[in-house]
Amino acid sequence: MSEHQIHEHDVLIIGAGGAGLRAAIAASAEGATVGVVCKSLLGKAHTVMAEGGVAAAIGNVDDRDNWRVHFADTMRGGQYLNNWRMAELHAKEAPDTVRELEAWGALFDRTDDGRILQRNFGGHAYPRLAHVGDRTGLEMIRTLQDYGVHQGMDVHMECTVITLLEDGERVVGALAYDREKGHLKVFHAKAVVLATGGIGKAFKITSNSWEYTGDGHTLAYDAGAELIDMEFIQFHPTGMMWPPSVRGILVTEGVRGEGGVLRNANGHRFMFDDIPPLYVSSTADSEDEGWRYTQGDRDARRPPELLTRDHVARCIVREIKEGRGSPHGGVFLDISWIKERMPKAAEHIKKKLPSMYHQFKRLADLDITEQPMEVGPTTHYVMGGVRVDADTQMSTVPGLFAAGECAAGLHGANRLGGNSLSDLLVFGNRAGVHAARFAKERGAGTINDAQVEEAGRATLAPFERVGGEGPYQIQNALQDMMQDQVGIVRTGEDMQRALDGIQQLRDRAQRVSVNGNRVYNPGWHTALDLHSLLTVAEAVARSAITRKESRGAHFREDHPEKDESEGNLNTVITKHPDGSMALTREPKREMPAELRAIIEEMK
């Protein structure tokens, strides 16, 4: 039955956002033949949505910045649950990977003396984000794409991987289908890199597109790899609230970096009301000081709007819950007020935040240079993911690597803005290099035809079932449930209910049927995505139930405080031999004295 085409590559890269493309470039440079599979067209991945910038301690704007400060900021932001080795490598290598982009044609905004300009962002001690207005992600993905296609990689566009193929313990390829024709494709590879991004589509309100269904997480899990820290999901504090159809679309943190402030319905700037102890000494104590910080005054401390995303999101939820929200259920984010402080403020805003200006003007009929925006939290990013070795990015399964959002470790309990673009450069590069080396050392494995046959049959099964439910109803039910019960404010009771709900949805998903044929059939694709969505939803719920404390992005109403005994543990998810999901907890690895000393020094 399952006829398929076969493609051979030394290294197969699944995902073509920043991490996948950077890995592909690195693997090609190591001499490997590279295939890149992308779920959409090339250059459309979610990296294009990244707005604010890429964090790298280049120190162009403030020479007090260096890798040690970036390391300490990242660890503090992640509430010390981060993999310290990844945080170290990331802080050290980010500057070179940013400069490298410039050598490949990227154009960043400039300082007065012609170097790369850097801007302030939440949780970063100094102006650290290299940027191009508010469309840094587009600049990065286009640069990687345009440079990458000249390095000899084969790109398989609109192609979705269903399962990884195994030879014993090792991963040796993947089975996929192409959207255009619905044909099955077998990829035979010596090493595989997952770079599939996030899981935002498990929630109702999200900044993520249809693609982000946790594919890489699930492929790895099904192949026997470990997932860690899946309870940590970043709810970005500022998503659009109105009109309803754009709810959740991202409003860049850059708005606050440029001086934007958050106010409730009474016009009160509520972020000054609650400043976490870890950040008291580094936060402004007056509106004036906060403003001076955003304008580059080195002696000023940051305004509370630039505290970490988890904290800002929770403060917004509090204002809304206590009845001080905006008309459409958010709060106000105002950049227009800066006209009180500077001449030609409207031009300045349009220059610094052109896509935000355009986005609100087009989609909400609102001029951000004149009026405040309505914003509220939106599911944005998953800190948890495939457990990888910090240096090589190899998962716990030989031959299977992961980089970018689908890998875990760097961000701990909460990611700082700007650290994802640098994450994907640094660890995309490392994953590509080490996958190529693994391929060279280990040679080709053997594809198990029976596995291909079985997975192929399962892929086509929804066509054979008649009269079942459609896939969209199940997807919507899951999104509603996760939003309400495993969202930004959690309780053990709610999440236990969600876990039962997931099981029921899984049963319904088994019976889904699709109409039409295999040619570009989104109903079929959605039906196939349900397995990944349900798997990551279960992993998130189970991990979040287990962590009986509040830390970083994980907030438990029934356990609102931090608990240091919990804070020393990572949550590990694996697939039990009987097919059920198993959860264990592991103590964090001891940090070396020299890194501990950096953290102490920067406190």
Binding site: M49, A103, G114, R135, I249, H358, Y472, N517
Partner: protein, 248 residues
């Protein structure tokens, strides 16, 4: 709640028809919202490309009431909803199914354009110095989201189907971005004049009119490139110089 009718092309390369779907519409909705609602409620297999839903990825290109647009940035309150909203796939490209066309030609064209080639670094640490004003000059071109609406509307491609001899406005913008990049040292003018067919463009500005990023494609990218090509190929002084030095 109000309802509106969407007359959507359903079919593939072998043929098809316009089919009417009526769906509920609410304040602030864009065309893509309506299409996705129809897909989820009654036409699960309706083929449509989309990603970011915020005008940043350039995936959801289609012809809305005959005008090439991004569906995610076209608000329903800009359309006359008393009659059906007609949705066609982009006409210039081969149809895959429903609203999805085969745009792979564009990706092949880009590979044939000579890549960025920087001058040697300005500083010892391997970095460059550039003025913001020089960066700003090409920023407009780098905003391109590769939606290919300009390719769709360009009559050289749409009517005359000159896919073998003309790269289209999108890639003229791409070449302009490279040629005017402050660090670039490559010369792409000869290719523009010959294989890439810049001469086919007769500056009707159709591309500029449909660009969702408001890139002034014709005036700022294509015309300056045409001038450079003319200067390089036909300037008598340069021709003399080339002859003397044995260059191109």
């Amino acid at each position: 709640m109000a309802k509106a009718t969407f007359r959507i092309w359903r079919g593939d390369a072998d043929g098809g028809e316009l089919r009417d779907y009526t769906t509920e519409v609410s304040e602030g909705m864009v065309v893509l919202d309506a299409v996705l609602q129809i897909q989820a409620d009654e036409a699960n297999d309706l083929a449509v490309r989309w990603n970011c839903k915020a005008g940043k990825c350039g995936s959801c290109s289609a012809e809305v009431n005959g005008v090439p647009k991004l569906m995610c940035m076209t608000r329903l309150n800009e359309l006359p909803l008393e009659k059906p909203v007609t949705l066609h796939p982009m006409k210039a490209f081969p149809l895959v199914k429903d609203l999805v066309t085969d745009v792979s030609w564009n990706f092949e064209i880009k590979k044939r354009i000579k890549p960025f080639k920087p001058r040697p670094p300005d500083a010892e640490d391997g970095t460059w110095r550039m003025a913001q004003s020089d960066v700003d000059r090409v920023m407009e071109f780098r905003k391109c989201v590769e939606c290919f609406l300009c390719q769709d509307v360009c009559h050289v491609l749409r009517e005359h189907q000159l896919f073998d001899g003309f790269i289209g406005p999108r890639f003229l913008v791409h070449v302009a971005a490279l040629e005017m990049h402050p660090l670039d040292t490559e010369n792409r003018l000869e290719a523009l004049r010959t294989d890439q067919g810049i001469g086919y463009c007769n500056i009707t500005k159709c591309c500029t009119n449909v660009c969702p990023e408001n890139i002034t494609i014709t005036d700022n990218a294509i015309i300056p490139l045409k001038e450079r090509v003319v200067d390089e190929a036909y300037d008598p002084l340069r021709r003399f110089f080339r002859k003397m030095t044995g260059g191109r």
